[in-house]
């Protein structure tokens, strides 16, 4: 870890580690949280300082950790002059902000959370500037958006903080996505995301077709982050954050991220016309609009916010000009702006802290209360205005000379010197207003608090920064000089121009422009200072309320989305099913439209008239069932049964007795169970379409009919096409041939079910078990419609008769007329049981099997329940279907697993002959046991569904329902 590479990694990890630790501190742990942050930041800062020799003279320190090599994405930390100077800014100002925040944050605030966010943000920012990989850069970029969201919304009990945080997040995250796509394109052009490779491929990038889209996307990212017009709207609102956050985010970090990326990619992206027009125009507009708006702010922080926008515009403009000298100025100004803007925000925070207001109109003459703070603020503001002997002056001079130097002949170029002077004058004006309005004039009236000097340690960060402003301003070459040179060389390389960092360059045009700006600004302030206090928002651009536009567009997006969701989607089942059928129809028919429809050469058999009649009946039943399904459930159900019977006859006709048997049994059970359930369905409303059916309904039904007919016909045609073809060399021959010799059974269907494809059977019986459990669970909670809760009419009549007669108990009539069926059923039950067992045993060789046997037994159970009544059956018979299912499943499983003992896969069957006493030699296959499992499951599942329905009838309706029904009957 002590190698430079290791230290570099440690420097990045420290803030995150600190953040994680702070997150686990108790909310009241102020000092530990602060000390932790302070220590982590200082150590990281120390490491950064220690690493300086590693980047001197265009050296680059790289630490590459393998991450996602196959996609060309490694975790790559890269420290060069530029990232070094930004790291120092991030960590240095971070340390000062931490110190300041200790005194600024109120004791009630849960500061560990604050410091956790702050350090995470610091780490993300550090990660961004240290990224040696474009994707990694985008990664940390989004992280800064995220943590700035948390920091801005730290006081989330304020509506404004919540809104501002969300706005900043959405704006910068959207920009981040653009940036990501942009750098992906760059990566594709270069063939690598490695920054060193990218920086070496300037010509390749600029000559690529993808250059323009990549440029625009990256610029969108940078502009949203650096609050460039027209994406600047989020920044002033972000002032809802605690002041230390503003001081940090809007000086050295967050907003500088965009500028940083522009500087970082300047060597490869700058120099084209597109770059020049987009970047310099945006920068210029932002510079002017920001400065203009700053003049009219009444909120201290608001003024500083717009001034930040304006200064960012200045840096962007410098970068947009495309000349190396301007780029130097941009880097230098980025550093200078960070120092004076951070100190000004902190001073504003002190004023707010001490007076309880940030409204310039209420503030006045504070100098006498806080002379030290006032002096510090004055120096910093002078730097912001570009007064000589301060760092802001130097970079502004460079800017002014750059504005003069460019002569490509465009309108922007021509107007630039004048506009630059104007913007500088604006800066002088708002800086002057900031100082004069706050600190001079008569003593303030009606402040919420009596102001005083802030605690010493709260001022120290400002003092340090102001001293830096002065030192750099007076002795640039001795202080910032070498570091700036390293940074500039790391960006510009061989293209680094000769530049001078002297305070005095003699009487030259930039100096005159400076003087003009100072004069203009001061004059304007003297003229308009009273007027300015009465202004409510900046003239000309007052209507440009970014926030309103943003919120209105968000609302519009959501409204549009809702409308589109209704238009393109539906929550109703009917249209969904319609779509399902239509899409399936298309999928099925499309190949035929392309490849044509053709029958195979199979000659059909002659149609048997009897068979045809059977099928006509079946078809009629099916159509009738569909027709009546909605209006006459009973009839529809019986007709469905009819169609099922026809299927059954068909199977018999076509020599599939096994299928026919199973079909018959299944038809019986399902129909009976459905009939039992009918009683609980709500009574159908007689009149569906009060006042006649609408034409739209008729049309919809016609469409549905057409779709249904088309789907049916389509299916028929496809089935016909398949059936007229000879069966391809299918696996079914294998089954027929191997069933007896290897499966031990002559009933091929059964051998397939319990041996060849026993795994399917295991799955299917599981399905049956699950369905039974589900039906049981559903009916257990079943809440039928009110009108179906009470006893059915027939039962009521019977009970009434029983009650009316002497010596009869309720239920006697029912008992009487079911006597004979009951006796028959109770006597038949064992017989059916034996028959079921017979079906099960013979299944392997003849029609039957566990499934059929199970259903047979369940039919017996159902009839028993119907004839004897639920209570009577359950009093005499232990009906525990869930257990039967469980046993059945376990039996089937264990049979299958038995094969493991012999080293065979699951479900490998064994068959042999058992020599039983008396009976003699009987065939016995392990599949028989498996089939017994199936048998048990089928009985259990059917019985479970049956008792779920049966128990429904013996549930006692709650008292309120009974009362209500009695009332209704009384009326009726």
């Amino acid at each position: 870890m002590t190698s430079p590479e290791g230290l570099l990694l440690a420097m990045l990890i420290l803030p995150f580690l600190g953040s994680l630790t702070a997150a686990f501190l108790k909310p009241a742990a102020r000092t530990p949280a602060w000390a932790l942050t302070w220590a982590a930041t200082l150590i990281a800062l120390g490491i950064a300082a220690y690493l300086y020799p590693a980047v001197e003279g265009r050296a680059v320190l790289r630490n590459e950790i393998e991450w996602l090599p196959s996609l060309g994405l490694n975790f790559l930390l890269r420290l060069d002059g530029l990232s070094w100077i930004f790291s120092i800014l991030v960590l240095g100002i971070g340390a000062l902000v931490t110190l300041y925040a200790r005194y600024y944050m109120s004791p009630e605030d849960p500061v560990p959370r604050f410091f956790a966010y702050l350090m995470a943000f610091m780490g993300s920012m550090l990660g961004l500037v240290l990224s040696g990989n474009l994707i990694q850069l985008a990664f940390f970029w989004e992280l800064t958006s995220l943590f700035s969201f948390l920091l801005i919304g730290y006081w989330h009990h304020n509506q404004s903080a919540r809104d501002a945080a969300r706005m900043a997040l959405i704006a910068t995250a959207a920009g981040g996505l653009c940036l990501l796509l942009g750098v992906l394109l760059i990566g594709k052009i270069v063939g690598s995301y490695d920054l060193d490779r990218v920086l070496a491929s300037g010509d390749l990038i600029q000559s690529s077709d993808l250059y323009l889209p990549a440029l625009i996307l990256i610029l969108l990212g940078a502009f949203t982050k650096s609050a460039q017009f027209p994406f600047h709207f989020w920044l002033p609102h972000a002032m809802a954050a605690p002041t230390p956050v503003s001081a940090y985010l809007h000086s050295a970090t967050m907003v500088k991220a965009g500028v940083f990326v522009l500087i970082r990619l300047w060597p490869v992206l700058a120099g084209t016309d597109a770059w020049y027009f987009i970047v310099s125009t945006t920068g210029l507009l932002t510079l002017l609009i920001g400065a203009w708006a700053a003049i009219f702010q009444q909120d201290l922080k608001g003024l500083l916010a717009y001034s930040t926008i304006s200064h960012l515009g200045l840096i962007t403009l410098l970068l947009g000009l495309g000349s190396p000298l301007a780029a130097v100025a941009a880097i230098f100004h980025a550093v200078n702006h960070a120092t004076f803007k951070a100190s000004l925000f902190m001073a504003a925070g002190i004023i707010d802290h001490e007076t309880g207001t940030r409204d310039l109109r209420s503030l006045s003459g504070l100098y006498r209360f806080m002379p030290i703070t006032a002096t510090l603020a004055m120096v910093a503001a002078a730097a912001m205005a570009g007064v000589p002997l301060l760092n802001g002056f130097l970079s502004k001079e460079m800017f002014l000379s750059a504005s003069l130097a460019e002569h490509s002949g465009t309108i922007i170029d021509q107007a630039l010197p004048a506009l630059a002077t104007l913007a500088s004058a604006f800066a002088v004006l708002y800086s002057l207003r900031f100082i004069h309005q706050t600190f001079f004039g008569p003593a303030p009236q009606g402040l919420p608090r009596i102001p005083g000097e802030a605690p010493h340690w709260m001022r120290v960060p400002i003092e340090i920064l102001v001293v830096a402003c002065l030192l750099v301003g007076i002795l640039p070459a001795m202080t910032i000089g070498p570091y700036l040179a390293t940074a500039v060389h790391s960006v510009l390389g061989d293209a680094t121009p000769a530049y001078s960092l002297a305070v005095w360059h003699g009487f030259n045009p930039p100096l005159f422009m400076s003087i003009a700006a100072l004069g203009l600004g001061t004059g304007a302030y003297l003229l308009f200072r009273k007027t300015l206090n009465r202004q409510d928002g900046a003239p000309l651009i007052r209507r440009l309320k970014g926030r309103k536009i943003f919120e209105a567009s968000l609302a519009a997006i959501v409204d549009t989305a809702r409308a589109l969701e209704r238009l393109l989607g539906t929550r109703r089942l009917q249209p969904q099913l319609r779509l399902l059928v239509v899409v399936a129809l298309l999928a099925g028919l499309l190949p035929f439209t392309r490849l044509g429809y053709g029958l195979g050469d199979h000659q059909g058999t002659v149609v048997d008239p009897g068979f045809a009649v059977v099928w006509m009946i079946g078809g009629a039943c099916a159509i009738g069932a569909a027709w009546l399904a909605k209006y006459h459930r009973l009839a529809a159900l019986i007709l469905t049964g009819g169609a099922g019977l026809v299927c059954c006859i068909t199977f018999l006709w076509l020599s599939a007795p096994d299928l026919a048997l199973t079909q018959l049994l299944v038809e019986t059970v399902t129909t009976v169970l459905l009939l039992l359930g009918l009683r609980w369905l709500p009574i159908r409303a007689e009149e569906v379409w009060p006042g006649g059916r609408a034409a739209s309904v008729t049309l919809r039904r016609a469409i549905d009919l057409t779709i249904a007919v088309a789907a049916g016909l389509g299916m028929t045609l496809i089935a016909y096409a398949v059936m007229t073809r000879p069966l391809p060399g299918s696996v079914s021959r294998f089954f027929v041939e191997r069933a007896y010799p290897e499966g031990g059974g002559t009933n091929v269907v059964n051998v397939i079910l319990v041996d060849f494809r026993a795994f399917d059977t295991l799955g299917e019986v599981t399905v049956l078990a699950i369905v039974a459990l589900t039906v049981f669970a559903l009916l257990r909670r079943f809440r039928p419609a009110q009108e179906s809760v009470g006893a059915p009419a027939q039962q009521r009549v019977q009970n009434a008769i029983d009650e009316a007669r002497e010596g009869r108990q309720v239920g006697d009539t029912l008992k009487d007329y079911l006597l004979i069926p009951r006796v028959i059923m109770e006597w038949l039950f064992p017989v059916i049981m034996v028959f079921a067992i017979y079906l099960w045993i013979r299944g392997h060789d003849m029609p039957g099997g566990g499934f059929a046997a199970g259903i047979t037994l369940s039919i017996a159970l159902i009839v028993l329940y119907m004839a004897s009544g639920t209570r009577r059956v359950e009093a005499r018979l232990r009906v525990q279907p869930a257990r039967w299912i469980g046993f059945g499943l376990l039996l089937a499983l264990l049979t299958g697993m038995g094969a493991w003992l012999f080293g065979h896969p699951f479900l490998t069957s064994y068959f042999g002959y058992l020599d039983l006493p008396i009976v003699g030699k009987v065939p016995a296959a392990s599949a028989l046991l498996f089939d017994l499992g199936v048998f048990l499951i089928v009985v259990g599942a059917t019985a479970l569904i049956l008792i779920a329905i049966a128990h429904q009838s013996i549930r006692r309706p709650s008292a309120s329902i009974l009362r209500q029904q009695a009332l209704e009957q009384g009326e009726g």
């Binding site: 196959s70 992280l143 959405i170 992906l184 997006i557 809702r562 589109l564 089942l573 999928a587 069966l727």
Partner: protein, 530 residues
């Protein structure tokens, strides 16, 4: 075949089946025992999945298990390759977290929860393991049947309505599956997927339309499962009606459709005459784009978090469909995304109940007028005692953090794996060449992320940052599953390299199995010449 280790591949199906069968033998009242059994089962399943994953990663060829010792393609085979191993592990991890979460309270909201839950896992595991088209259908049925039960778990009007809706759609879907499978069988004469791959190129030109119709109809069934526009309208409503741990498990259900598609649709050969693969790719691309767009619209228009989660699933499906349609360069990224987005949505489903518990509680309290005396809905009051776990402090911070990470994961922003997943997809996409289609897809993928941020930030700010909301209780057993899922996503991020390598090998293998007949088949003629 010797030793239990050889049979490990079938255990993901048998173990949950055995455990739930055993639970059916127990009384409904033995809750603690059932919890222990089912949690132990799922933990065993995870262990098995990890072992299987390591086996699959180590071997070049897929592992074959011949059920009943019948040679392929006549018997049913289980096939373990990298894809199925990864899906197994994902399924069982989701199973564990959801189950753990459910033990806090939801498992008491209705009968036989644990049995149904394990059977659901059995169905999923089986569907991922089987190498047989009809057996796939069977396991689809198992997982669907179990999902009906789980969806209805907890009862209440909302769930029953959504449940019956879901049942109707899925029965229709199953019908399509059957039609498709039988058509495919009718033309090729086989159900074994590997055998299909071998036989499809040999299908005569005059039968080709039947095959295409069959696979097309199968595809529609898979698209419905995956929630492709315009076939996926059922999804958000259904999932939002389910109780949270169930919805969290359901996050993998739509991926079964995607998985089946990968296995079956890609079988269509790139033959010069019909250019069927091309058609499939086009369907996937167009359908995928439409699905992402619709999901984005849905996310923006959602008024509740659970619908938002449902639409996130639709976006996820759309992204997968389009990416699969984009070709092999994107496939590994798509698989990575599949894992990441499934974990994310699952965590989100768990979390939104915790965040919005004050709202959802209304749904579980018994209605004022019971129709029957023995009726109960939701968690019964007397069950609220003897809770598992302790109420943890700093609830809000944990919920807020969890919510934020989930949102970032769904939106594809750092620091969790969502970012890498989307990066991998777009990176692969740009490698396929820059076309209007690539642009649209990349833009839509990013826009869907932005829409997610817009929607979740609105909801998150409202739910977590707005003061004076009723305090919520949070139990450790509820926080831990969410934390585990998020930690897994963090792991995906940190170990992206090896995981992506695995996915790349998976994608390569998929390509191979789709285009060449693997050596697992015995000679098809062998069976016919005795």
């Amino acid at each position: 075949m010797a030793g239990v280790a050889d049979h490990l591949i079938v255990m993901p199906v048998l173990l949950p089946l055995a455990a739930s069968a055993a639970m059916l033998l127990m009384s409904e009242r033995r809750r603690v025992l059932k919890r222990v059994i089912s949690l132990a089962t799922v933990m065993a399943l995870i262990t098995i999945s990890v072992l299987l994953l390591r086996t699959a990663a180590a071997s070049h060829d897929p592992l074959i298990y011949l059920l009943g010792d019948w040679p392929a393609p006549f018997g049913i085979t289980l096939v373990l390759d990298r894809l199925s191993a990864a899906m197994l592990l994902l399924t069982n991890i989701l199973g564990f977290t959801s189950l753990l979460y459910a033990t806090a309270r939801w498992d008491r909201a209705g009968p036989r929860f644990h049995a149904l839950f394990l059977l659901q896992l059995m169905g999923l595991n089986g569907a991922f393991l089987t190498g047989d088209l009809f057996n796939l259908f069977v396991f689809f049925e198992v997982l669907l049947a179990a999902s009906y039960g789980l969806l209805l778990h907890g009862a209440g009007r909302k769930r029953v309505t959504a449940g019956l809706h879901y049942v109707s759609i899925n029965i229709a879907t199953s019908l399509l599956f059957l039609i498709g499978a039988s058509l495919t069988y009718g033309v090729t004469g086989t159900l074994n997927v590997a055998d299909l791959a071998a036989r499809i190129p040999a299908v005569a030109a005059e039968d080709l339309m039947l095959l295409q119709a069959g696979i097309g109809i199968l595809g529609v069934a898979f698209f419905i499962k995956a929630g492709m526009w315009p076939l996926g309208f059922w999804l958000p409503g259904t999932y939002s009606a389910a109780v949270p741990p169930v919805a969290a498990l359901f996050a993998i259900l739509s991926k079964v459709g995607i998985y089946a598609m990968l296995r079956v649709l890609l079988l269509l050969p790139q033959d010069p005459s019909g250019s069927a693969t091309h058609v499939v790719d086009e369907w996937l691309q167009i359908g995928g784009l439409a699905t992402i767009a619709f999901g984005t619209i849905g996310v923006l228009s959602s008024k509740s978090l659970s619908r938002l989660a449902g639409y996130s699933l639709i976006i996820s499906s759309g992204t997968l469909l389009a990416s699969i349609g984009a070709g092999e360069a994107v496939l590994s990224g798509a698989l990575f995304y599949l894992v990441s987005s499934t974990l994310g949505v699952s965590a989100f489903y768990l979390l939104i109940e915790l965040v919005g518990r004050a709202e959802t509680d209304m749904d579980t309290s018994p209605p004022a007028d019971a129709v029957f005396d023995d009726e109960y809905v939701g968690v019964r009051e007397e069950d609220q005692e003897n809770e598992v776990g302790v109420v943890i402090p700093a609830t809000l911070a944990i919920l807020g953090g969890g919510f934020m990470f989930c949102a970032l994961l769904l939106a594809g922003l750092p620091p969790l794996s969502g970012f890498i997943a989307k990066f991998a997809i777009i990176n692969g996409l740009l490698d396929t060449g820059i076309s209007p289609w690539t642009w649209t897809l990349a833009a839509l993928i990013l826009l869907s992320g932005l829409a997610t941020i817009i929607a979740t930030s609105r909801a998150g700010v409202d739910l977590i940052w707005t003061p004076d909301r009723p305090s919520r209780d949070l139990r450790l057993v509820e926080a831990v599953p969410v934390g585990m899922l998020l930690a897994l996503c963090l792991g995906l991020m940190i170990f992206a390299g090896p995981i992506m390598r695995y996915m790349e090998q998976t994608a390569d293998a998929l390509d191979v199995t789709a285009r060449q007949p693997p050596a697992i088949l015995s000679d098809p003629e062998e069976g016919t010449t005795p």
